[in-house]
C-alpha cells in the first residue's frame, strides 16, 4: 500500500503544511431526501463493508434503529413525520452521518497528529491507530457525528469508504442505495445533479426545495437535496447554518496561539525581569 494513496490536505495537530502539492478530484456524496425510502440499505451496506456489527437493540417506539450513531453505526436513518402544509403528511427520512466538511471541526479540535486527515479529494478520515480517545472531535463537530467506542476508546465515523475510493470505487452506501437517493461523483457534478433535482421538486410543488451545502463549514462533501431547504431543522434537527461552534473556534482557534504566546511571554517576562533587576536578595545585615 502506498504511503499516501490519497493526497493530503490537512492533518490534525500538525502546524506545518502536509504534502499537498497534488490535487485530486474533489468528490462528494449527494443525498436526495425526496428520493429516500428509508430502507436502511445504506446502514447495512456500511456495516457489512466496514466489518461492523452493532448491538441488536430494542425498539423504542420509532423506526430509527440503531437509535443513534455509534462507533459501530456510522450512518443511521432519522425519521420525522411532519405536516408542513396542514393535512399533508410528509415522512422526511434523513441519512445521518459524517458530512465531510471542507472546514472540519473534528480535525481542528483533534490533539493527536494524524488521527484525523483531510484528503485533497475532500474526505475527512479518522485513523484510529493515531487516535488517543480524547473525544475532542466530538466537541469540534458541528453535526455531532463522531462516537467513541466503548470497546477501544477510539473515535469512529464514516470514512466515505476511503478504501473504496482509493481504488476507484464508490462508497458502499452509494452503491447499494436502491432508489438512487444517494449518488456520488465529482463535487461539481453533484451540485449540477442537485440543481436538476431541485428544479424537478419545484415543479412538483416544493417551492423551497434546495441544496444543503452549508458554507459555514466551507461546504460539505456530503450534501443533501431538501424539499424544504428553508427549514432544515424539519429533518430531525439538521442545523440550519452550521459552523464550528464559537466556543470550539475560540478554544482551538484564537486561544491556541494566544494562550501559548501568553505562557511564553510570562516565562520571558520573568527571564528579562531577572536580567534587569537581578535576584531579590536579603541583605546581610537583616540576616543577622
Amino acid at each position: 500500500m502506498a504511503l499516501q494513496s490519497l493526497d493530503i490536505k490537512a492533518r490534525s495537530a500538525t502546524t506545518t503544511p502536509s504534502p499537498s502539492v497534488r490535487e485530486t478530484m474533489e468528490v462528494a456524496k449527494l443525498i436526495d431526501i425526496s428520493k429516500c425510502i428509508g430502507c436502511k440499505a445504506c446502514q447495512v451496506a456500511c456495516m457489512e463493508w466496514n466489518d461492523l456489527r452493532d448491538e441488536v437493540g430494542n425498539n423504542v417506539g420509532v423506526y430509527d434503529n440503531p437509535a443513534d450513531l455509534t462507533a459501530k453505526s456510522w450512518t443511521v436513518m432519522r425519521y420525522a413525520e411532519v405536516e408542513v402544509e396542514q393535512n399533508k403528511l410528509e415522512w422526511l427520512i434523513r441519512k445521518d452521518g459524517c458530512m465531510h466538511c471542507a472546514d472540519p471541526g473534528c480535525l481542528k479540535a483533534c490533539p493527536s497528529p494524524g488521527a484525523i486527515v483531510q484528503y485533497s479529494n475532500g474526505i475527512v478520515d479518522f485513523h484510529q491507530e493515531n487516535c488517543i480517545g480524547c473525544g475532542y472531535c466530538i466537541t469540534g463537530c458541528p453535526f455531532n457525528v463522531p462516537r467513541i467506542s466503548k470497546q477501544d476508546s477510539k473515535a469512529y465515523k464514516c470514512t466515505l469508504c476511503s478504501d473504496r475510493i482509493a481504488v476507484g470505487l464508490e462508497p458502499a452506501c452509494v452503491k447499494t442505495c436502491p432508489t438512487g437517493a444517494i449518488v456520488f461523483g465529482a463535487k461539481g457534478d453533484m451540485i449540477h445533479h442537485a440543481e436538476g433535482r431541485v428544479t424537478d421538486l419545484k415543479s412538483r410543488g416544493y417551492t423551497n426545495a434546495g441544496l444543503y451545502d452549508p458554507q459555514g463549514v466551507g461546504g460539505t462533501h456530503v450534501m443533501y437535496v431538501l424539499q424544504h431547504a428553508d427549514q432544515p431543522s424539519l429533518y430531525s434537527g439538521l442545523p440550519k447554518d452550521p459552523s464550528i461552534s464559537a466556543m470550539v473556534g475560540l478554544w482551538k482557534g484564537v486561544a491556541k496561539p494566544l494562550l501559548s504566546l501568553g505562557i511564553g511571554l510570562t516565562v520571558l517576562a520573568g527571564f528579562f525581569h531577572y536580567i534587569k533587576a537581578g535576584p531579590n536578595e536579603v541583605e546581610e545585615e537583616t540576616e543577622k
Binding site: C39, A41, R53, L89, T179
Partner: protein, 823 residues
C-alpha cells in the same frame, strides 16, 4: 395469479421491472413496493426523474412508498374493489377510456347469456349451503358458427360494455368514500390522474403484491385493477401493465413449474376424478378459438403434455398407455395449504414434508397450525435455517407454550444449502430465468435440495423395487438419468425441463426440413410434438437451454432501443418475450400507438413483427390476418367478463372482509349473504373463531417491513440490528384514546389469540370515516418469532383468521379484527 389469467390469459406480471421506467403514472395499491421491492422500486424513481412521471399510493398506511409519492390517498383495508369499481365508473361515465383498444382488444362487444344475472350482491347460480356457484349461466351467447356473438356497436344491453356500465354505475364517488373511508376529494383526484392515461401516448402501470392477494376477495381486487388498465389501454404497452410483484425469489418459477396441488408444469392442470378418458382430458384443455382466426395457443396442450410425460417417464410413457396418463394422481378437490392443515387437524394426514417453508409462522391462526402439526406421525423439515416449524414441539416460553412430552410427532430436520452454495436458476417477477453460480461449500454436512430429494427418492425406489408396495410403476419408471444419481446436477435438470428432441423434429410445412436433430436440445416450445418425439419438463421454459447453450446464464445487458428490454440478458419465458401481449401496443394495422416507446411493430417489407421486444404473437402473421394480442385466451382478446374463471362472479363486486368493522355490506345492506365473499370457503368450526366489531373494534392488518424478509432475516444479524424487536403501529388518535405512548408495551388480541409488542405511535395511520363511523387501523409487522438472532417475539399469525381467497385460498392477512390494550 388466479386473476390475471382469467383476464389476459397468463398468470404473471405483464411487464417487467426495468420497463416501469417507461410509465407516466405509477399506481401502487395493494402493495408497498418501496419497502418490499426496493431495487425494483428504483424504476419508479427513474420514471419520475426521466419521464416526469407521477406516483400515486393508495394504502391504509402512509408507507415508505407513500413517503416518496406525489399523491397519497388512504383507504380502509379490504375495500379496494369498491375504490377501483369507483375508478371504472369514473372512466366510463367521463368517457376516459382508450376506445380503439377496448373495442378491438377486449370483450367489450361480446354478448353475455341472458340467464346471467346479478341480484342484491349475488350472481346467478348461487348455492348458499355449499357457498359455491353453479357457473352455467356465466357465459357468452354462442352463434351457430361456434363463435361468440358480438355487437360491435356496443348498443346491446347484454354486451359486456353495457353490462359493466350498469354494474359499476353503482360505485359513485360518494359510495366509494362511504365504504373506503377515502375522502371524496382524494378519490376524485386519484381518478383524474388515472384518467389522464387513457390517451394512447400516456401509460400507467399498477404495482401490487400481497396487499391485494391476501384478502378473502383478493383475486377480484386484482381483476378490478386489471379492468381499469384494460379500459385505459395500458396492457401490452411499454410502461403499462399489471405488475404483480411476487414475494419470494422463485415463487414465479415454482408456480411456473406447477408446484401446486392442481397443477402440472407450465400451467397445465391435473385431471379430476371424472376425467378418466385421456382424449377428453386433452380436448377440454385445448381450447378452440371463440372468435374467427384466433390463435388460442392452448390448442397445443397435447404437445406440452406429452412432452412433459416423456420428460418424466421416458420410454415408459407411450402412445399405448396414453403417455402414462393414469400415473398422474387425480383430484377430488384442491389440496391447498389451508385444506391440508384442515385435514391434518382432523387427523387425516400422517406425514408432512416442509422444504424451505415455515408454515407455523406463515400460515394463519397459529394455534390451529400448531395443533395440526402435533397430530402428525412424522414431519420432515428441509431448510438451511432453524425454523419455528421445526421446533413447534419445543417449549419456548410465552412464545410457544407447548408440552413436548404430549407431542408424538417424529420430526426430522435436514440441513440444506443456501443460494451461495448451489448452481441453478430462479425466475424473477419479470419472468426472467437467471442462472446463478456456487461460490462455496455449505456448512457442516448440509446438502442441496436436489441431493436431499434424490436421497429420499432413491431409498423409496430401492424399497419399492425390493419389497413392492402400492402402485410402484411411476416410482420405478421415473426418469433419473443423472451421472451421479444421488446428486442430480443443476445443469442436467435445467436441460431436462428446457427439453430435447428424442427423434428428429421436422418442419410441419416441409417434412424434409429437420428443425432439430434427435438428441439435441430444443429451441423452444414451437418445436414440441405430441407424438412422443420430444421431451420437455416445462413447456414455457422451453429453449432456456438450447444447443446454443445455457441462455439463462447470458450476461449481455445492452439495451439498444433504450427502453430497457435487454433481450440478451438471461432468458424470459415465454420465448424470451419481455412484455406480455405486446401486440396490443400497436393499432390494428400494426403501427405502435406510441412510437417513442415502441415494443414491436409490423414491418411490411420484412413480412414480420420487429422492434425492441420479441413479438408475443406469431412473428410472421400480418395484421390483416387479424390475430388478436391475447393469444392464450380462446377469445383472442382480454376479458372484462371473466366467464366461469372466477369463483365469485364474472364481474368483481365489493364484499366486506370476513371480519369487518361493519355489520353489513354497504353495497347490499339488507342481504347478509352478500356481506363477505359468498364463495369464500370456511371450514366447519372456523366460523366460531371469527370475531365481531363489538369485542374487537379495530381493523388489524399485517405486513412486511423493508428491513426484514419474511421469517428469514431474524436469523441475520445485520437485519436484526436494523429492526431488532417486534412492534405494532397505531395512530396518534387511537393512542391517545387508549393512553398508549410510543415505546409502551401493548397487547393486541383477536378472537384467536394475542401478541405483545412495543407500540409505535404515528401520524401515518389515521382513522377513517366509514359509513359515518370512525375506523382505526392497527398495523402489525410480521417478522418476529421464537428463533433467530433478533429479539424473540410472538408469531403474528396467532391473530389471523383461517380463511382464504375464494379462488386461490390465499389467507386473509390484510384485514381482520383486533383489540388493543396497554400491558
Amino acid at each position: 395469479m388466479a386473476s390475471l389469467a382469467p383476464t389476459f390469459g397468463r398468470g404473471a406480471m405483464t411487464n417487467h421491472w426495468v420497463d416501469i421506467k417507461n410509465a407516466d403514472l405509477i399506481l401502487i395499491m395493494g402493495g408497498n413496493a418501496a419497502e418490499a421491492h426496493p431495487c425494483g422500486f428504483k424504476w419508479v424513481t427513474e420514471a419520475k426523474a426521466h419521464r416526469n412521471a407521477k406516483l400515486i399510493v393508495v394504502d391504509p398506511r402512509f408507507t415508505r412508498s407513500a413517503a416518496v409519492s406525489d399523491y397519497y390517498a388512504p383507504i380502509r383495508a379490504g375495500t379496494d374493489i369498491a375504490f377501483l369499481g369507483g375508478v371504472i365508473n369514473y372512466l366510463l361515465s367521463n368517457d376516459k377510456i382508450h376506445h380503439e383498444y377496448v373495442k378491438n382488444y377486449t370483450d367489450f362487444s361480446f354478448l353475455v347469456k341472458d340467464e346471467f344475472k346479478f341480484e342484491n350482491g349475488i350472481f346467478s347460480g348461487y348455492d348458499a349451503e355449499k357457498r359455491k356457484y353453479d357457473k352455467a349461466t356465466w357465459g357468452y351467447q354462442m352463434g351457430k358458427d361456434g363463435f361468440v356473438v358480438t355487437d360491435p356497436t356496443l348498443k346491446n344491453p347484454r354486451c359486456v360494455y353495457q353490462m359493466m356500465k350498469a354494474h359499476y354505475g353503482r360505485y359513485t364517488p360518494d359510495v366509494v368514500s362511504n365504504i373506503c373511508g377515502t375522502p371524496k376529494d382524494d378519490f376524485l383526484k386519484v381518478c383524474e390522474m388515472i384518467a389522464e392515461t387513457s390517451k394512447s401516448d400516456k401509460t400507467m402501470t399498477i404495482m401490487y403484491a400481497l396487499g391485494w392477494t391476501q384478502h378473502s376477495q383478493g383475486s377480484q381486487m386484482i381483476r378490478t385493477g386489471a379492468m381499469v388498465q384494460l379500459l385505459l389501454g395500458n396492457i401490452g404497452v411499454a410502461g403499462g401493465g399489471m405488475n404483480a410483484l411476487r414475494g419470494h425469489s422463485n415463487i414465479q418459477g415454482l408456480t411456473d413449474l406447477g408446484l401446486l396441488s392442481n397443477l402440472l408444469p407450465g400451467y397445465m392442470t391435473l385431471p379430476g376424478d371424472a376425467e378418466q378418458d385421456y382424449k377428453t382430458y386433452i380436448e377440454k384443455r385445448a381450447f378452440k378459438p371463440l372468435r374467427p382466426g384466433q390463435m388460442s395457443y392452448w390448442q397445443n396442450y397435447g404437445k406440452f403434455f406429452v412432452s412433459n410425460m416423456k420428460a418424466w417417464f421416458g420410454d415408459a410413457a407411450t402412445a399405448k398407455n396414453n403417455w402414462s396418463y393414469d400415473w398422474l394422481p387425480k383430484l377430488d378437490k384442491g389440496y391447498d395449504l389451508l385444506q391440508v392443515f384442515e385435514n391434518m387437524n382432523q387427523g387425516k394426514v400422517n406425514g408432512y414434508l416442509c422444504q424451505g417453508f415455515n408454515p407455523l409462522a406463515s400460515a394463519p391462526c397459529k394455534i390451529k397450525v400448531s395443533g395440526s402439526l402435533s397430530k402428525l406421525k412424522y414431519l420432515v423439515i428441509i431448510d438451511p435455517l432453524a425454523t419455528e416449524t421445526s421446533e413447534f414441539w419445543q417449549n419456548h416460553g410465552e412464545y410457544n407454550d407447548v408440552d413436548p412430552s404430549k407431542i408424538q410427532t417424529e420430526v426430522f430436520r435436514l440441513p440444506s444449502t443456501c443460494f451461495a452454495e448451489e448452481d441453478g436458476s430462479l425466475v424473477s417477477s419479470s419472468r426472467v430465468l437467471q442462472w446463478h453460480w456456487k461460490a462455496t461449500e455449505p456448512p457442516g454436512e448440509a446438502k442441496g435440495d436436489p441431493e436431499i430429494m434424490a436421497g429420499i427418492f432413491l431409498k423409496l425406489k430401492e424399497m419399492y423395487k425390493k419389497d413392492g408396495g402400492a402402485f410402484p410403476d411411476p416410482i420405478l419408471n421415473l426418469t433419473w438419468k443423472h451421472r451421479q444419481p444421488e446428486s442430480p446436477s443443476a445443469e442436467e435438470l435445467a436441460k431436462e425441463f428446457s427439453g430435447k428432441a428424442l427423434k428428429d423434429v421436422t418442419d410441419p410445412k416441409d417434412k424434409s426440413k429437420v428443425l432439430v436433430k434427435g438428441g439435441e436440445q430444443l429451441n423452444g416450445f414451437a418445436e414440441l410434438r405430441d407424438d412422443g418425439s420430444t421431451s420437455c419438463g416445462c413447456w414455457i421454459f422451453s429453449g432456456s437451454w438450447s444447443e446454443k447453450g445455457n441462455l439463462m446464464a447470458r450476461r449481455d445487458n445492452s439495451d439498444p432501443f433504450g427502453i430497457g428490454q435487454t433481450l440478451n440478458w438471461a432468458f424470459a419465458w415465454p420465448a424470451n418475450r419481455r412484455v406480455l401481449y405486446n401486440r396490443a401496443s400497436c393499432d390494428l394495422s400494426g403501427k405502435p400507438y406510441d412510437s417513442k416507446r415502441k415494443l414491436i411493430g409490423w414491418d411490411a417489407a420484412a413480412g414480420k413483427w420487429t422492434g425492441s421486444d420479441i413479438p408475443d404473437i406469431k412473428a410472421d402473421s400480418a395484421p390483416v390476418e387479424g390475430i388478436n394480442p391475447f393469444i392464450m385466451n380462446p377469445e383472442g382478446v382480454a376479458r372484462f367478463f371473466a366467464v366461469d374463471k372466477m369463483a365469485e362472479g364474472p364481474f368483481p363486486e365489493h364484499y366486506e372482509p370476513m371480519e369487518s368493522p361493519l355489520a353489513n355490506n354497504p353495497m347490499h345492506p339488507d342481504n347478509p349473504k352478500a356481506r363477505a365473499n359468498p364463495a369464500a370457503r370456511v371450514f366447519k368450526g372456523d366460523w366460531e373463531t371469527f370475531g365481531n366489531a363489538e369485542k374487537f373494534p379495530y381493523v388489524g392488518t399485517t405486513y412486511r417491513l423493508t428491513e426484514h424478509f419474511h421469517y428469514w432475516t431474524k436469523h441475520v444479524k445485520l437485519n436484526a440490528i436494523m429492526q431488532p424487536e417486534q412492534f405494532v403501529e397505531i395512530g396518534e388518535e387511537l393512542a391517545k384514546e387508549k393512553g398508549i405512548k410510543a415505546g409502551d408495551h401493548v397487547r393486541v388480541k383477536s378472537m384467536r389469540g394475542f401478541i405483545i409488542a412495543v407500540a409505535v405511535v404515528t401520524k401515518r395511520l389515521r382513522s377513517l370515516n366509514v359509513t359515518g363511523k370512525k375506523v382505526h387501523t392497527i398495523g402489525i409487522p410480521i417478522h418476529w418469532g421464537f428463533m433467530g438472532v433478533a429479539k424473540n417475539g410472538y408469531i403474528t399469525n396467532t391473530l389471523t383468521p383461517f380463511v382464504g381467497d375464494a379462488n386461490t385460498q390465499t389467507p386473509e392477512f390484510k384485514a381482520f379484527l383486533v383489540d388493543i390494550e396497554k400491558v
